[in-house]
């Protein structure tokens, strides 16, 4: 199993977000738009951060928005949101965030290979700055397809 399809309608370039909940909401909106989840999933992604903190900011400039599988996940899905102005999540090392990758998985067991592919994409340190500076969705899509293949 490789990365779930990253359709163009799951990519938002240059979103405006005043704070981290707005940034997560932009990622949730992209998952809803592409048919991967319902808006209830957006709320659950925000809850994860309220409960556990900004640990989802797993690399400089990058937040991995996600929650547990649930009825609000319609199918495995991935989205990418880039922000015009980076926002602070409260992480001691990796703030501010300019790229949010949203992840929705339908089942806990089948996501490991999928996440390994995500690691393959982002283990290249040039990828986060490249995504942050992307000016169109086609470029973002090509970054994921190039590295994951």
């Amino acid at each position: 199993m490789s990365l779930p399809h990253l359709p163009l309608d799951a990519i938002t370039i240059g979103a405006h977000a005043d704070d981290w909940p707005a940034a997560i909401t932009a990622a949730g909106d992209a998952l809803v738009r592409s048919g991967a989840a319902t808006s209830a999933y957006t709320e659950r992604m925000i809850e994860v951060i309220r409960e556990f903190g900004a640990y989802i900011v797993i690399a400089p400039g990058l937040a991995l928005a996600h929650a547990r599988p649930g009825a609000d996940v319609l199918t495995d899905g991935l989205c990418v949101v880039t922000l015009v102005e980076p926002v602070t999540f409260g992480h001691p090392h990796n703030d501010p965030v300019s790229v949010i990758v949203g992840l929705a998985v339908a089942g806990a067991d089948d996501h490991l290979q999928f996440v390994a592919e995500l690691a393959n994409v982002f283990n290249d340190p040039t990828v986060i700055p490249a995504l942050a500076g992307a000016t169109n969705a086609e470029f973002v899509k090509s970054v994921f397809e190039r590295t994951a293949s």
Partner: protein, 91 residues
């Protein structure tokens, strides 16, 4: 040897950390099993673990443990993992 990687909900972030920890161990030529867990499961998962890897945000959630706790800043930086694991496990 057992290494536990922990995140808030036990998938997504911890799965990424597990994959890259295994890559770092391979580079160090260290044989170890790597188990991903969440805040709720860390006490049981780490009872016989030598090392717990997690984010600075979650260190306090671990509570009392005999394992070495290592804070990872960049989950995609295998070099950071290699350096920190080598310090914790290297002879």
């Amino acid at each position: 040897m057992k290494i536990v990687v922990m995140c808030g909900i036990g998938l997504g972030t911890s799965a990424i950390l597990k994959v890259n920890t295994e890559r770092a161990l391979e580079r160090l030529d260290i044989a170890a099993s790597v188990l991903a867990t969440d805040v709720a499961g860390v006490r049981a998962a780490a009872a016989d673990a030598q090392v717990i890897l997690t984010s600075s945000e979650l260190v306090n959630a671990i509570g009392k443990t005999n394992a070495d706790v290592i804070v990872i800043n960049n989950y995609f930086d295998v070099d950071e993992l290699v350096v920190k694991l080598d310090i914790a496990l290297g002879s």
